[in-house]
Structure formats: structure tokens, C-alpha cells
Symmetry: D3
Subunit: 285 residues, 6 copies
């Protein structure tokens, strides 16, 4: 009788053995160069998810019918990104080892690297679909290679040219944009071209990483580095639904919510709705 109620992401309380997708949080921000606080993102998302319904009128599906389990947050070490990434990789490895799909909630974008390492180890032909305002392709940031501004460059080092498809990119150094032309596929400013990319990728395994700052700051102000002129919620919702339902997504993440810069709570609501729509669109594995 004296048992504790579930307090993970709404309705994601299926038995982990029967779930096809496993949520876990990486409450880590340490390399963020501008405004910190994404460490609070995953906890805020869980708590505020109860402001949404489990049912989506867009997809006519309900999370209650979806085999997802939320394992809560990892305990991560600040000030030592390498150690934190190892812990994230371990958790993703464990999930993949059981034949399930890891769904990581950040945290700063660097956390992607941990889950990505696990995924690329299991799926050597891994492709990347990347939604973001920022290219994240720097060689290093003020001397540090493990920075959220470098994360896709680190991923590229593991998969090489032609595997990474970026969308919505509207900020970067001149060098990043130039480098990108030779190594990755970068769609600037919006999410157009997604259909073409999905066709090109086919049924290859995909790591799908969503930096929520791809959204316009009016829609999603609660992030470390808001960049005006982003995509609309509607565009993002349709695009994530498309990727999750059509690509062979073997691992994914949603990151860069910084709830302390979100006094109205709307950014957290946006993050929850994006995650709900992704979870509803992801097929069983």
C-alpha cells in the first residue's frame, strides 16, 4: 500500500523489458559557452509533461498505448566532460545491448556524443539527422575539443564524410560553413530538403539529434544561445514526426532546454510536446 507513484515522463512507465524505447536524462552542462542551465532540462520536462495530454490529435495515438519506459536521470560529474560522456555512453550501451532504442534527454548538446559513441559501435554505418540553429562543427572551442560547439565535428570524426545531414542551421563561424561544404550536408535556415535526405538515407540506421534551439526563440526562449529567425513549432513537429516514422532511428536525443531562462514555462511545454510526438511516431524495434 505504501508505494511510490510514478514520476517519470507522463505515461512512460512500461516495464523496461517490454519497452522498445528507453528514455533517460543526462542533466549535464559544463562546456556551454554562453548561458548555462540545461542541466535542469530533463527534470523540468518530466515534471511539466503532466500539463499535456497523452493523446495526440495530430497522430491520433496515445502514449498510454506506447511501449516506452523512462529510467530517470543519470548522476553526472560536472567539470569533467570526458567522465560524463563515458557514463552516458555506458547507459546507451546497456540499452542497445538489450535490443532497445535509447532516447536521451539533455542537457547540453555535448551529451549527444556519449550516446552517439554507443550507437556507432553497434551500427558502423550510422547516419545522422541533425536539427539545430548552430552548426556545432568547430575543431575546438577556445582550445577545448569537448565542447557543445564541437559536438557534430566529434561525431563526424567517427563516421566520416557524407553521413551527417544538418537542417535549420543559421549560426556558425565562416570557417564552419566552409568546412561543412566538403564534409556534411547542411540545409541552412529551415527544414526544407528533409524528404530528399530521408530518401538518400533509406533504411540505414539513423541517429536523430534535435537541438531545440532550431526553433525560433519566440517559440523556445529557454535555451542557452537563442538565435532569432528559427523554424516554427508546426514545422518542427511535422519534421520530427516524419523522421521518426520513416527513418530507421536506432537512437535519438532532444537537448538544450534551459528551463531557468523559461520563466513562463512555454519552452518546457514545447519540449514535452516534441518528445510526445516523437515517441508516438517511433515504431517498435
Amino acid at each position: 500500500m505504501l508505494s511510490k507513484p510514478f514520476d517519470g515522463f507522463m505515461a512512460c512507465e512500461k516495464d523496461p523489458r517490454e519497452a522498445h524505447t528507453i528514455l533517460f536524462g543526462a542533466p549535464f552542462d559544463s562546456t556551454t559557452s554562453f548561458r548555462p542551465g540545461t542541466r535542469f532540462g530533463s527534470a523540468a520536462i518530466r515534471q511539466e509533461s503532466y500539463g499535456l495530454e497523452t493523446y495526440s490529435p495530430y497522430q491520433d495515438k496515445d502514449l498510454e498505448d506506447t511501449a516506452v519506459c523512462d529510467l530517470g536521470d543519470l548522476e553526472l560529474c560536472f567539470g569533467d566532460p570526458a567522465r560524463a560522456l563515458d557514463a552516458i555512453q555506458d547507459q546507451a550501451d546497456a540499452i542497445l545491448a538489450e535490443g532497445k532504442r535509447p532516447f536521451l534527454i539533455g542537457g547540453e548538446h555535448l551529451v549527444t556524443l556519449g550516446a552517439f559513441r554507443a550507437a556507432v559501435r553497434k551500427y558502423p554505418d550510422l547516419h545522422v539527422i541533425h536539427f539545430d540553429a548552430h552548426a556545432d562543427l568547430r575543431e575546438d572551442y577556445l582550445g577545448t575539443p569537448l565542447s557543445h560547439a564541437c559536438v557534430l565535428r566529434r561525431c563526424w570524426e567517427l563516421v566520416g564524410d557524407g553521413r551527417i545531414f544538418q537542417f535549420g542551421i543559421r549560426s556558425g563561424t565562416r570557417e564552419e560553413f566552409r568546412w561543412a561544404q566538403d564534409h556534411v550536408t547542411t540545409h541552412k535556415f529551415d527544414l526544407d530538403g528533409l524528404e530528399t535526405a530521408l530518401t538518400a538515407i533509406g533504411d540505414k540506421p539513423v541517429y536523430f539529434t534535435v537541438d531545440l534551439d532550431v526553433l525560433d526563440p519566440s517559440v523556445f526562449p529557454g535555451t542557452g544561445t537563442p538565435e532569432p529567425e528559427g523554424v516554427s513549432f508546426s514545422a518542427l513537429r511535422q519534421a520530427v514526426t516524419l523522421v521518426c516514422s520513416r527513418a530507421n532511428v536506432v537512437a535519438c536525443d532532444v537537448n538544450e532546454l534551459s528551463p531557468h531562462y523559461d520563466p513562463t514555462g512555454v519552452s518546457t511545454a514545447v519540449a514535452c510536446k516534441v518528445i510526445r510526438e516523437m515517441l508516438l511516431a517511433l515504431p517498435p524495434r
Copy 2:
């Protein structure tokens, strides 16, 4: 000489006997399931209305020329919704009895039920035009029938099938959407279809209820349950102008501003401008 200046909604200081529309506030929130605070909505709207002009370049009309009177806020009892609804109904009854149009400012959406009861008593063939993000059609909410999540269901019990026209609905349980198909007219996601509905209603008496969360949270973050992917301000402004100028609106309300979740004040400015445009569009009775 020592007299108190007017501090109601800007320019709504006509003599109540000569006004065709009477504003009053219902500073009540008690059943809100998520974030409370709409009790502060009507007071914030009055105070911030002075940041707007009384003149509308959209309609080329001026509130100074409009016969409206603001009676201020009721004093309502928290924790006892039935008692609060009775007080709201009494005030609306009194206004209707003098042949005037009550314009209620919430407060949570449940307050609609008080004014609606008064209106349906006077106008048995009352129809409803309902703008909202949420269907509000639950039979009960955690066992309570008097909840803001059930308010349109309670209204339906008083008028029956075919009288309620909902627009902008993008959140609800699967059950609500299914129930709606048999009993009310629900336009999902946007305000399209309004012209058709107005034609169908003709000159029947209309209760017009605007839950401001029909707006996108980027436009209107200050509400209890922000739901992404709402309508734009421009769409709402045009729609409320259309309803107020074309339908036979016998009573109306605007609700669900929660100003403590609006640190920038823009939600309150939005509420004020919606109300100004409605007041300018409503004809004399």
C-alpha cells in the same frame, strides 16, 4: 474636488444605464489542474489597458465613442466553485435583466458556466461559439464535475446537441474528441470554418467564449496550460471581430490570462487588445 479617478478598463466609464455592454471580472481560479493564477487576470487587464490606445486602426473606431461600462471585479469565494458560480450568475442575470450584454473577464474558464446559466435562462435557444486550445468536454476531472476541464460539457448539458461550435481545439483526451463527434461541432487546430458556422447560426442568440490559450504560447505564454501550435494573434483578432460584428452575441467572456506567468507583460497586452477589438465590434443592443 476630492473625487476618485476611474480605474477600470480604459475608456469604459460610461454610465451603466447608457451602456450596451457591461464588463465585469470574475477573479476566480480554484479548479485549475495545472498552473493557477487566472484570479489575477482581470485586474491585470484593467491596469495594463492604459498601455494601449483607445483607437483601433483596424476598425477605425475609438472606445471613447463606445457605450461600455466596467463594473470591476466580483468578490468570489475560493475553494467552493458552486458558490462562486452562483455569484457570477447573479451578476450576469442583473445585467441581462436591464437589457444589456454581460462581458465577463476571467478567471479560469469555469467562470463561463455562471454567465452561461444566466444567458441560457433568458435565451433558451442559445448557441455557443468557443475558441480554445482544449476541448473542455470531460464528464468530470478526477471526480469533480465543476472543473475548468469540463466547462463546455456542463454548458452542453444545458443546451444539448448541435449548439456548440468549437475552434482551435488541439488538446484533449481521446475520449473527448470521440464524444465531440456526436454532440458538438469541433474545428481542430485553427479557426477555419468560422464563416460556415456563423451562417449556420444566423441570428440566433450566441454566447461567445474565448479561452485565450487558443493563441500560440509564443503570443500568449501567460496561461495555466500553454499548448504549443496555436493560432496567431492576427487570426484571432480577425475572428473575434467577425463574431462580434456578425453574430447576435448576447453575452461573452474572455478568460484564462494568468499574469504571474507573464513576466514580460505581453500576454496581458494581448488580452487587452482582444478585448478592445471585441468591444469596438459589438453593436449596440
Copy 3:
């Protein structure tokens, strides 16, 4: 391997069967007459408890060594206080039935009544130690008997004269202060007289209820009805330690944190530290 980490109040993860004290939250506010939001209190307390250490240098004790279990929050119905109180009473009944001490975290002060009813049923000679800025002794509030402004009056109806000892009271109607003179023991303004009261009560069973607004608003701004000139944190810490270690506390609560009025987070930190010191001082049952 894929198991969820504990996310209750820090270190309160003992097996409920071996715990002597059981924490649970009542995230309820519906009757609050002024600023709402205590519904978010218990969740904020859990989340922010990790900013504190488990060790207290005041008592030289550690929560790691203390047999406490946190069961998380009840799911309560808004807008129907009677129903919510029943659910709280049921949970407290269950805890008391297993010979353990319920420790309720509010929520508005009305939640006390639920746990109190359970306690008085088991301990008919129950006494009350009440720390608060407000007397909470109204017969009703705007017609409603179940209001946070009436909660001690409702408790008095169950135990009668001479059982309630109030401290720190600095706000109330003239009628409340007059009524109090004949029925309860009210120490105005501060916590003086506590030793005398503890001696008078002896080893009788005690319900200890702490409305955190007894603190000065400079120390604890995050509450619905801040009342200037309250007690210092040091005075409160010493007083709660004294009550918990010397009285026969059979049930207790801490309430009225409203974290959305606490943008700096210090009120939540204060609530966490008060609870830590109480838990460390409460003896095994």
C-alpha cells in the same frame, strides 16, 4: 541494470517497512485566498533537497543514518477540497496503521486537516503545536468552512479547548484573536513560551504543524500570504528541533511553500533545511 534512480527527498529511500517516519506530499491548493501555487511545494522541495548536505553540523547527525522513506506525492483533485482531504486522510491512516509517523508536505495549510483527522482518530488525546503567521481560526472564509484560513478552527472542533498551542501569530481578524483567548493558547509574534508549552503537554501525543510563513518574508518570500516581521531561520530551526526531539510527535507537516513566488530558490532551500532538521531530530517510534 535498467533501473530508475531514487528521486525523493535526499536520502529518504529506506524501505518503508523499516522506516519510522514516512514522508508524503499533498500537492493541493484550491482554497488559498490570495496567491496560489503551494501545489508545487512538495515537488520543489524534493528536487532542491539535493542542494543541501545530508549531514547537519547543528545536530551532528546524518540523514543517511535515519530510517525515513519518501512515498512521493498523492494525486489530488482540485476544486473539491472535501475529496482531497479524504485522500490525505486515507494515506495518513495507512501510515499510522503500520505504526509509523506520517510527515506530510503541503500544499496549502488546509491539507493539515486530512492528516489531523487520521491522527486524532488514533490518538484521541491529541495536542497540537502550531507555528504560523496567521491564526487560521476563522469560522468560515467568505462562506466556506474548508479554507486554509479556517484550518485550525476545524482542528479545534475535533479536540476542543486547551489542546492547541499557537506560536508566531501576527495576523488575523480582531474576532480571531478574541476567540483564541478562550479556546487556544496563542503566543503572538514569536516562538517564546515553547518550553512552557512542551512541559505542559508532557508526553501526550502531538500533531506538529509548521506553516513556513511563520518565518520572516526576507527569509521565506515564497509563500501565498507573506506577512512581514516574522521569526528568523535560526529561531525556527532551534524550535522545530526542540519540538521534534522533546515532544511525542505522532504526526507532523510542513506547508505553504509556493515556489513560483520564489525566483531565487531560497525559500525552497529553507523548507528543505527545516525538514532535514526535523527528520534528524524525530526519534524512532
Copy 4:
């Protein structure tokens, strides 16, 4: 039946002809050198006054029994301090002409000069009791003589040496402190010496001006220029009660609340309680 409820300061709704004290607000800030926003002070005070009780357990008196009337706010011109001061002086003149006591709520401290001019015209032997963190004795501020940093200097020009008694002063230029030694009585840092000053003033007419930033910023953060190490609420409450009950206060003001720097609302609560205690202590004229 359709009448507007009172919305001035709680319980200050007596007929102005029968009131001995007349509240009015001067929502003006234009010369503030640091953080603006005191223009919102008087409106916030009225609105939040309902969070307090009308009864004071300190004085065992009730505002319901007190003959005070609140006339609301003046409409003042920004950017032209001379014009705004004229309007304030006119209102104070009118109140004094009816044999009543003006009680001005600011606004920035410069507003004092308007009411002071009216009072000194009627009472040429006017004395000043001034509570403040800042000396406000500059000859000019960046070239402007009408600045909140100069207001007491402007008052001194109207009454001369020996009439102004300052308390709590802990900030100023070296020149202000030196000048003060020859012209006014300045008690630095706290409110000590008040009894002596009251005795010296005897029954001479007194203008009592309270800049709320005399309080410590922990108690009263919501002000333009917070200055650490101020007086406690308890000290201020006792001091204002003493001045109002013992001196011949012919006019008074409370100013410098800037509610937009008061997200918790405690500064406004403090301002309300100070005003309540002053109103209860002021005798009929």
C-alpha cells in the same frame, strides 16, 4: 445594483468629507538615476493591500474603524518633473484646504517636494522627519536640481537650517555628509535618536517622509537603489508608529517602492503593512 466595488487601499473607503486623512498616489518616476519603476508603486500597494488584515495586533486597532479615504492616483506627466510636482502640490493643497491630512504614496522620492510645498505654505514652521538610506541632499544631480537625489535639499531651501531630522542615512557623497553637519540633523545608519528628535520638535507641525529604502534590502528589495545594511522591519514599524502617534503630523508620504524589482511581492507587502500601521497610529485632526 450595477455599481462598482471599491478598489482603493483596503478599508480606506470612508466618505472624504468625514475622513481625517486622505490617501492619494503619485505614480511618477522620471529623475531616478538608477533603476526606474516606482511609478507602479501606488497601484501595487492598493492591489496587494488585500493580502493583509485590516486589524493590527500590534496596536489592537482596525482600519475599518479609521476615518481614511483613498482617492486613487493622479495622472502625471513624465519627462517634465516641474509640471508633475505642480499637480501633486495642487492635490495636497486641496486636501489641506479642507482641514485634512494628505498621505501621499509615491512614486520616486521627488514627489515629496510637491506635497511639501503645499504643507509649508500652510504651516510655515513645518519640520521634517525623514527616514531614508540616502541623504538626498545634493545641490543638483548631473546638472538637474529636480532629482530624487536632491529632494531634501530642495525642502531645506523652503524651511532652512535646523528643521530637518534624518534617520537611517547610510549612503551619500562625502560632500552631502559634510554639508549636512551644518544644516540638518542626520542620524546615520539606524533610527536611534528618534525620541530625542520628537521631544525637540514638540507639537510643531511635521511633514513625515518615509523612503522605504531605509529598510534593509533583504526586507525590501523592490526599490530603485537598494543599499545594504538597512534597518529591520520591526525597527521601522515601531518608529513610524511612534512618529505618527506622538508628532503633530500634518502631511506624510511613503515612497520608492518599485514593484517590478519585487518578483516575490514581499516589498509590496512590507509597504502595505507600514502604511496600515501609520494610518492606525495617526490621530484624527
Copy 5:
């Protein structure tokens, strides 16, 4: 070795003798009728500019390659608008005298008048392109001619009919809109018609003034008088790029950011990006 790093607007650290455009800030707000705080605008813009990149993917240009110098903020007198305008005019005069283009960052919109006076003295055939939500064409505001609500009227007095082209205007009194028809070219609601105006102006000298509240409040909430239904960021970015690259802009300003009403920081990010795009588009003189 012990030298201070640059802390002006990012990358605007060229030697002033070699710069073609000179930034300076006018941290002044004193006449603002509604919410103050634009005095903090220019400092916030400098500090937050480091959250942007110096490179623009829209124009494929980099601020590092642009000859701009930021001179920091003037020290201005509050409460005396005439004196503040003189100081702004002096600084703009000095910049123009050296053959450079002044780029003023406000502050409230009244600051425009200072720089405008300098520009019109040097360029008698000066034209004005004005982006704003508000017409700013009042003869006076509550009796004061030097108000931010009158600034374009004051400019008109210096250049006469046919020289001022307004865009985005959606708020004003009926009188302002009527007066405008005879004296200025007013494009209501959006930025359409800009191409036509640029063609009409040809290579005449242009003062370009951007009141950022022309943007929709969802994009730019941090301003004194938010007016719903403004233009999108994309529309504004394209329009300012067009004006700066095609018109003969001899002086310009960006104003009305009030960062204390911008808790998320997105308004400041928007202001920074507008300024970056303008600086990149402005040709050498």
C-alpha cells in the same frame, strides 16, 4: 601586459579614425509613459552580443572585416530631457564632423531627436525612414513636447512634409493617423511599400530610425509598450538590410529595448542580430 580587454559590441573595436560607422549608446529613459527601463538597453546589447557569431550566413559577411568602432555609452542626465538631447546631439555632431556615420543605440525613442538634429544640420535635405509600432506623431503628451510619443513630430518640424516614411505603424490616436495623412507617408501594419519609398528617396541622405517594437511582441517582448500583431524577425531583417545597403544612410539608430522586461534574453538577442545585420549592410562612407 596589464591592459583591459575590449568590451563593446562584438568585433566593433576598430580604431575610430579608420571606422566608417561609430556606435554609441544613449542610456536614457525619462519620458516613457508606460514601462520604463530602456536606459539599460545599450549595455545589455553590448554584453549579450557575444552570444552571436560575428559572421552572417544571410549576407556572407563578417563583422571582423567591417570598419566599425563602439565608443560606449554617454552619461546622461535623467529628468531633464532637453539636456540629455543636447549631449546626444554633441556626440553625433562630433562623429559627423569627422565624416563618419553615427549609429545610436537607445534608450527610449526620444533620443533619436538628438542625433537627428545633428544630421539635419549637416544634411538639410535629410529624409527619414522610420520603423515603429507607434506613430509617435503627437503634438505633445500630457503637455510635454519632449516625449517619446512625439519624437517623429519633432523631427517633422525640422524637415517638413514629404520627408518622413513610416512603416509598421499599428498604434496611435485617431488624431495622429489623420494628421499623418497630410504630412508624412505612413504604411500601416507591415513593412510593405519599402521598395517604392527607397526608389522615391533615391540617393538623398537618410536618417534611419528603428524602434524595435515594430516587431511582434512574441519576438521582442522586452520593450516599454508592447503592441501585438507586429512584423516578423525575418521581415525586419530583410528590410533593414535593404535600407542599409540601398539608401544613403548618413545616420541611424536602434532603440526601445527594455531588457528588464526580457527575462529570457531573447529580445536582447534580437536587438543584437538586427544591429549586426545593419552594420554588415552599411557601406563605407
Copy 6:
């Protein structure tokens, strides 16, 4: 003529060659385990310092007469604490090499280690006076030795037993308090015992490090880990004045202001006043 005004800490604009004390900022937080944001501390302190006067009535001294120079902020790398500490150490080395006293403004408390390393290299018999709420004596934090929770332990490794005097400590693990007994002098809870420590230290060189969270959170809420029941502002002001005027302070720092958790700005005002009093008390070297 076109020169940039000073924008460092008020009045600290002396020529670095003639200054005895050199301010510099280390805007770094990367290892903070709880709430981040101290990276914004030094910039906020500079900007808000203009809300204070340069003159102190406590010491009757003026910063205008004090030979201090502010060099602004270092540019530091996030996510790599070792690299950031090296940069801080280099700056402190350079200042010490010129015979001046470095005064570091944090940032998180870990920054102390950079300046401390420079100081201990020059002064091998360096002693430490440490004001803090937290012992900061952990061997490591979640595996990382370079954490703000370990900084005094790292300092101890460089100087050994008997050199560190801690005051105000009220939080730590049981292990930290036990370890401290054998290695450092820890005064719990308040600043008592300072006189004795100063006598024991005599004229030995002292590194003085002030973690502002030693203050009570009511006085200083804007910090990462607020810990209730701290010292008063008055106690801290007197203590820092005593240390700076009596000990042989060769280097010092003030840290842990996190301004984004300080919406009222009072924490920043407190930090500014502490720094002003320290600068006024520090003698020429």
C-alpha cells in the same frame, strides 16, 4: 574626442602602474554541482557598482582617492577547468610580478585556486583566511578533483596544516568536518574568533578568499548553493574591513555571485558594497 568612457568597477580607473591593487574578473563556472551562473558575476558587479556611492560613511574614505585599477574580465575556456585555472594564474602572476595586489572577482569558487597558486609561489609562507558557508574540503567531487567543492582542499595541498582559517562554515559532509579538525582551523556558523586568528597570523602574508554565500540567503540569494542561517551583512562588512586593514593581504578574491538567481539585484548590490569596503580598507602595498 571620440574616446570610450571607463566601464570598470566604479572609480577603479587609476593607471595600472600607479595602482596598488588590481581588480580582474574570472567569469568561469563549469564545476558547479547545483545552480550555475557565477560566470556572469563579475560583469554584473561592474555594471551595478554605479548604483553605489564611491564614498563610505563607515570608513569615511572615498574610492576616488584610492589607487585601484580594474582590468576587466579574462576570456576563459568552459569545460576545461585546468586550462581556465592556468589563465587565472598567469594574470595573477603578472600582477604580483609588478609588486601589486591581485583582487580577483569570480566566478565560481574554484577560480581561487588559480590566483592562490600564483600567490603561494611568491609567498611560500602564505596563510589563508576563508569566509564561506561550505567547507570546500572534499578530496574529490564525483571523481573530479578540480571542483568548487574541493578548492580549499587543493589549497591545503599547497600549504599544509595550520595555515587555513575558515569562518562561517555551516555545510559539509561529516567527513569534511572530521578531516578539518586535524588540518585546518574551522569556525562554524559565524565569524567569531576572527580577532584571535588575525593575532595568530600576525604579519604573515595572507590570501583572503570570500565566498559570498557565507551571508544569509535573505541578504544574498543570488548564489548557486544558498545555505540558510548565514551571517548578516553588518557582520561581514565589519569582518572584511578588519581583515583588509589588519592582515598582510597579498591577494584576495570575492566570488560565487550568480546574478541570474538575483532578480531583484540586491545580491549584486551586496557584492559591490563588500568589494568597495575591502578596496577602501586595503592599504597601499
